[in-house]
């Protein structure tokens, strides 16, 4: 556990890190960013908490088991979405033109259009959850591991 200054700053900063990460995930399909980048940013927030508070505090509620569950669910959603288009072909964008994320952005100058992209934004969100949980789990497991504990799921 680090000094009070670090802990306070980390406490305040983690919110902004979270918001920025989620922003990157949400806008992955119409601007730079995406599931992996956003998820990595959120996981870096977890690393910050880990450094500031030490692994003892975090492990109480952020267990590897829970993180693995989230990561697996995200990956499952991704594949199920890909399978959803199998009526025409695997990975077919079946949501395009429907009310759910169905818009088509006009190419050329103009602002991004969040309500577009069909299954792609949904996949980005699923990937985002997988990556944030997966990377946090890796860091957490390594932190506990270097402390000499064995990891059990």
């Amino acid at each position: 556990m680090l000094s009070r200054i670090v802990r306070t700053v980390a406490n305040q900063l983690v919110l902004f890190v979270l918001v920025f990460g989620l922003y990157l995930i949400m806008h992955g399909h119409d601007s730079p960013g995406g599931g992996f980048q956003g998820g990595a940013v959120v996981a870096s927030g977890a690393v910050m908490l880990l450094v500031a508070f030490g692994s003892g505090q975090i492990i109480k509620w952020l267990t590897v088991r829970r993180l693995v569950t989230v990561a697996c669910c995200g990956a499952l959603v991704f594949i199920v979405l890909a399978l959803g288009g199998t009526g025409t072909s695997f990975f077919h964008n079946f949501l395009l033109g429907t009310p759910v994320f169905g818009g088509v952005p006009t190419p050329g100058p103009g602002h991004g259009h969040v309500w577009s992209g069909g299954i792609i934004p949904l996949m980005e969100i699923a990937i985002g959850f997988t990556v944030m949980a997966g990377l946090s789990a890796v860091v957490l497991a390594m932190a506990r591991f270097s402390g000499g504990e064995e990891i059990e799921e």
């Binding site: 693995v68 569950t69 697996c72 499952l76 594949i79 025409t88 072909s89 695997f90 077919h92």
Partner: protein, 522 residues
């Protein structure tokens, strides 16, 4: 049924991938739920492979484009280059698919009992599924970049499996060596892909082969790709990682990692035949493959006789047998530009090399499993400490005998059929190489006889008086493979005609592969 046939290429990869991420959740419901779930998914995938195989062997090459309005539509309307990710399944891909699926089924059955009571089992089954996905994707993909991605996927999953027993120092070391050589060679593959992309701005293998100009950069890329794949398939002198990794991987996974090596061999053939096989003289790359093959055969077997660890010896034999495949196909590659030689012996040489892949994977998987069965019961892999095991492990002894006779090329087992093809065709190309191949078979027999004598025969050791036969599920896994070995030995003509000849045809027929995608482009 129609739906399944159409979407089989994608589903074969998607189903195990889905299972890989579902297994950690399913396994919370208990051991048997997870076992049944894994087996059911693998069984369903195997039946999809069978459906796809029937389709591919009757109608020819299949193209599956991801996300397109029609899976067969390789080129979007108005485009002259493929832009979407696609799978291209021809005879050779299907052949690899059959090999991998059979091995995966046997390995899974074998592992069910083997793992009982060990920790971290959800990870084990997830990694098995991921390794299967990586190998199948590598065999099916029609895209250079996806080749890299699936190669890395297979490497990561393979490492996880090789280092599964993290409590053992040697297991961790073997896994680490595997991931280092995999990462470096895969990065070289990516570098070569970058070189190719910089010139043609496409990634599809068919489109690349269509536009290929055989410039300096192309030849450099070929060198990088060939070197990297030889590293992954453990050809001498890049073989040193293989004994380390194969030795430490737990039971059922060693055959899977072995199959992953042969998927890299498939990638080597795909690159040399399909990507570069068109208009240049392939003699140079053919001779490189032949030299690597002969070195692998000779050094692999000489090192194997010397080993005391039973799995390490088998790993060196795997390198040595890999040399036979490279020799057979290398001869075909060297005469690819010469139609007369190709028709008279080149095609049969490739047949032999390809046939040896499936034969070798089966009997080597069987041998690895018997070695691990011994380890399971007596807790050591050192042949110096074994003796008289045949008295209590009758089935294991029988399976070891079948595997040993098959690998030494003793008729009527399957090893003899493919080795005969290789000897006789290579004799036409160069008698010296054929003589070396026969000598290597002799030493192989000698080394397996040594282990058979030391481990299974002899007086009953007091320490092993209480040793029992391994559990039934392990015996079933070995039994399936032993039955395949005997069947393939008795009916080699059937196997060669139905699955090996289409694979050879697919390798030689470069225009067919290109036209399946680029047919409409002038």
């Amino acid at each position: 049924m129609d739906f399944l046939t159409t979407h089989a290429p994608a589903l074969i990869v998607a189903l195990p991938l889905l299972a890989a991420f579902a297994i950690p959740l399913v396994s919370r419901a208990g051991h048997s739920a997870r076992s049944i779930f894994s087996l059911a998914v693998l069984g369903a995938t195997a039946s999809l492979v069978a459906i796809l195989a029937v389709d591919v062997y009757s109608t020819g090459i299949r193209v599956y484009t991801f996300g397109a309005t029609l899976p067969e539509m390789a080129l979007p309307a108005g485009y002259t280059v493929p832009v979407r990710i696609m799978f291209q399944v021809d005879g050779m891909s299907m052949f690899m698919g059959i090999v991998i699926t059979t091995v995966a089924l046997a390995a899974m059955l074998y592992s069910l009992q083997f793992l009982k009571g060990q920790s971290g089992q959800p990870r084990f089954y997830s990694l098995m599924m991921l390794l299967y996905v990586g190998m199948m994707g590598l065999a099916f993909t029609g895209d250079m970049f996806n080749m890299f991605v699936f190669l890395e996927l297979a490497s990561i999953a393979g490492t996880g499996l090789a280092a599964y027993r993290t409590g053992m120092a040697d297991a961790v070391e073997g896994g680490f060596k595997y991931i280092v050589i995999s990462a470096v060679s895969a990065l070289m593959v990516l570098f070569a892909i970058g070189l190719l992309y910089s010139q043609y701005n496409v990634l599809s293998i068919a489109a690349l082969a269509h536009y290929m100009e055989y410039s300096m950069l192309d030849m450099m890329a070929l060198g990088l790709l060939a070197g990297a794949f030889v590293m992954k398939l453990a050809g001498v002198p890049l073989h040193m990682w293989a004994p380390d990794t194969y030795t430490v991987a737990p039971a059922g996974t060693t055959p899977m990692i072995l199959a992953a090596s042969y998927t890299s061999m498939y990638a080597l053939y795909r690159v040399t035949f399909t990507l570069y096989g068109g208009h240049i003289d392939t003699a140079a790359i053919g001779w490189i493959v032949i030299i690597v093959g002969v070195l692998s055969m000779f050094i692999g077997v000489m090192m194997a006789v010397h080993q005391t660890d039973i799995k390490r010896m088998m790993a060196y034999h795997a390198i040595s047998q890999g040399g036979y495949m490279l020799l057979g196909v290398g001869v075909g590659l060297a005469v690819l530009a010469d139609p007369v030689a190709l028709a008279s012996y080149g095609r049969d040489a490739i047949n032999g090399g390809v046939f040896h892949i499936i034969n070798h994977v089966f009997y080597k998987a069987l041998l690895f499993m018997t070695a691990e069965a011994i380890f399971f019961r007596i807790g050591t892999r050192d042949t110096n400490k074994m003796g008289g095991l045949a008295r209590n492990m009758k089935w294991t002894t029988l399976f070891y005998g079948i595997g040993a006779l098959a690998i030494s090329g003793i008729p009527p087992f399957n090893g003899f059929a493919s080795k005969l093809l290789i000897y006789q065709t290579v004799l036409n190309f160069s008698p010296v190489l054929s003589a070396i191949a026969m000598f290597v078979s002799l030493v192989t027999l000698a080394s397996f006889a040594k282990v058979f004598y030391a481990a299974f025969t002899g007086p009953e050791m007091p320490a092993y008086r209480e040793v029992r036969e391994v559990p039934r599920s392990m015996l079933i896994g070995m039994g399936i493979l032993a039955a395949c070995v005997v069947f393939f030995g008795l009916f080699p003509g059937l196997i060669v005609d139905t699955i090996v000849a289409p694979a050879t045809e697919a390798l030689i027929n470069q225009t067919g592969y290109i036209d399946a995608v680029m047919g409409a482009v002038p």
